[in-house]
């Protein structure tokens, strides 16, 4: 009798699903604690994660070019490179998006002291210059143009003098195989940021593609070293990469073959640094850069940006 009763009781007693994490994560590793309210309200008031197809209109974004300016506040040649980058960006016909990445092999130009108090290095930026996947970095200032391999010695790295021609070359190649749209919502009560993306496949693709999100501070005033020991303490640093929202290499969105007209939706949660501690993180000074990267050859297929509000 016991042989029957014990399993029977065990079956009934344990036939329950105790849920430790009620909020589903299958639509992104959402941290709902950044949302000041019930996550159930997010769908009706902001974005319906469960039915993202209803959230997007036609994607009118044109092909973008990501110009990554690898710089440092102690690098005396870098301000000139910064000016070149900005001038290219201001040419609306090129649709260039600049990200200033403070990174170098040894971190010498990025060091801090009593005057240069801000450390603008990021884990991702250091990995890009120091890791094995983007070989050939010589020193600041250098840049990448959609991470194509038209740089020095067929690497992704361009000297500043090559940026204009590199961008023009990239601009001539106007094929667009993938496109991106971004929506974001931020909540000052928690400094929470939710980012939603729609990635549309415009032509059949095969490979390993990642979506990467940069958090950018558009304008930060802090010291910059120039030639002859001149230090401009009111220098406007432009488009500083401040963090990678979804990691150094982003989120894999395609692995293998994907057909034309496929649509991929991604959702991300992130807590912004408190602007009460660092004013440069005021949302009006922030934007997001999103790009799709072919991890097999490092090429960026499309890049877009969105200002936070």
């Amino acid at each position: 009798m016991k042989k029957i009763l014990i399993p029977l009781l065990a079956f009934f007693l344990f036939a329950c699903d105790k849920i430790e994490s009620p909020v589903a994560e299958e639509y992104g590793k959402f941290d709902w604690s950044f949302f000041p309210g019930d996550p159930a309200d997010y769908a009706s008031n902001y974005y319906d994660i469960a039915n993202p197809q209803n959230e997007w209109g036609e994607n009118l974004n044109e092909k973008g070019i990501l110009l990554e300016d690898y710089t440092g506040h102690l690098c005396t040649n870098c301000p000139e490179a910064g000016l070149i980058a900005k001038s290219i960006e201001e040419d609306s016909s090129l649709n260039v998006i600049v990200a200033s990445i403070h990174a170098s092999i040894d971190g010498g130009f990025q060091e801090t002291d009593a005057l240069f108090t801000n450390n603008y290095e990021t884990e991702a930026g250091n990995e890009y210059v120091r890791g094995s996947e983007m070989n050939g970095f010589l020193g600041n200032p250098m840049g990448t143009i959609n991470r194509n391999d038209g740089g020095l010695s067929n690497s992704v790295w361009y000297l500043k003098s090559q940026w204009v021609s590199g961008v023009n070359d990239e601009n001539d190649n106007d094929s667009l195989n993938i496109n991106i749209q971004i929506k974001s919502f931020n909540f000052s009560q928690t400094n929470g940021l939710y980012v939603h993306t729609e990635t549309s496949v415009l032509n059949d693709l095969t490979g390993n593609y990642h979506l990467v999100l940069y958090l950018i501070r558009n304008d930060v005033i802090s010291p910059q070293k120039f030639d002859q020991g001149i230090i401009d303490t009111n220098y406007h640093h432009h488009a500083i990469l401040s963090d990678n929202i979804n990691g150094t290499w982003g989120t894999q969105i395609i692995n293998g073959a994907v057909l034309k007209d496929s649509v991929i939706y991604n959702d991300f949660s992130y807590q912004l640094p408190d602007p009460a501690i660092d004013l440069s993180y005021n949302v009006e000074n922030l934007s997001i850069i999103a790009y799709v990267l072919n991890r097999d050859n490092m090429r960026i297929l499309q890049v877009v940006n969105e200002e936070l509000e």
Partner: protein, 557 residues
Amino acid sequence: MINKYYLLLFLLIWSLLIVEGQENPQAGIVSGNIQAIGQYYQEDTLINAALPEHLYGFNGFANVNYQKGNFRSGIRYESYLNTLEGYPTTFNGTGLGYRYMSWSGDGVGVTIGNFYDQFGSGMIFRAYEERQLGIDNALDGIRLTYEPTKGIYLKGMIGKQRYSFDDKLTNGNGIIRAIDGELNLNELLDSSNSWKLKATLGGSFVSKFNTDNNTTLFNMPKNVGATCFRMNLRYQKIRFSGEYVHKINDPYPDQDKNFNYIYKNGEGLLLNLGYSTKGFAIDFSAKHMDNMLWRSTNVNVGPTDLLIGYLPALTKQHTYNLAATLYPYATNFYGEIAYQLDVLYKIPKKTVLGGKYGTSVALNFATAYVPERDFVSDMGSSRNSYTTSLFSRSDSILFQDFNLEIKRKINKKVKLNLNYFNFVFNDDAVKVAGYYKMIYTQIAVLDLTYKINRYHSLRFETQAMWTDNDKGDWLFGQVEYTFSPHWYVAILDQYNSGNSDLNKRIHYGLISAGYINGSHRFSLQYGKQRAGVFCVGGVCRAVPASNGLTFSFTSSF
């Protein structure tokens, strides 16, 4: 298709049994009952009366049972052509709504098909039918009972709940699995029946499995279980009963953000202490209920659909019209702390107060409060929403009912029944009156029966309600003439005398007559019926206003 074959086979076997039973009484007993109500609706814009396009509504059913020895079988044929206004719209069409077979012997009982059952007070499990409310959550499955020895009663069942009726029975998707054990210590250990203490202990476990999940935002539990323990003790004139139920995370969608998909465990505790002796009884009940909505589905359904558990009402079931239908108690699914005190005293006859025949006095006080809840901001994580403690109540009252009933036989011809009611009704929480604020009201009832002679009697009933809230004061009057054993006729009027809108000071006149012959009863009713709420045991149904002719027939054999 397979289900159809089973149904045909069932009907064939069953018809043969019935025919055999009718032709040969030795073969078994056939019994049954029927109820039919039809209503012809008329337009009445003054009271905003329901006027469906079909103009005539009809609800009817007939049970037919067959029994031979330990074998029992039955069906219920149901017709909703079209459903009476106010009944659940999920009742439609005509067909078989209930069928079962059962047999028992050697301490074992088996039921297959539909069945009703209840564990303890029903908090953990109650499959029942309340036709007036449109509730029918019969289980459709298999039930086994086993009595291994005298005093030990075991029960196990599995099945799906009746959800709707559309020319046939339709079950919900959820599966209910339930076991219950009861130990009667006296039967088990006290064979000589010498113990003064009578004790029964019981325990149940009920779980549901359902995949009705229309939200992808949350991880929904597919298996949810509830456990219950209960005891009944009686020592001479004192009795005590207690029941505790605990349910794990069982989130439901809800309009209230604080209760929308919350994963807090539910619990209920019901305690009752009573004393009774000749001419006097006192009974005290207490209830703590928190987050005990318990359905076999986790999606939005009608308020009385697919309920597994029943939340007992701690209030007196009133029968007088104004007290019963304007501001009746409705159990709060979110939770409540409730208390009830009942005192019955019969003033002895041939005393100054008691009179020649004695006087019965019944005092009842019931109150229900919102539990004290400390809300926590965890809707993005554990979603418990709040914490609460046993019998810790807030200041927010849901309902309070003080009522006094005095029954006295004045002389051989006159019987008097006086009632006083004092209600505090939080319609902001209960939301049955549509006023959504506190309602304070008093009602007085005088019910006088005059027996003209052995066969003829007259009954006068007058009621008055006073309130400054909602629709204001009401008056009610009824005269009923009975000439037994067959006939009765009654006329009544309800008047909303205190409505602040003079155009809504309406008379709701109604005339009814009936004929009773043995177990058969016919009745006709014509007139206006005001909108109200009909509740049984804290479960309510909104009744729309109507004007028209109603016919009803009940019979049993």
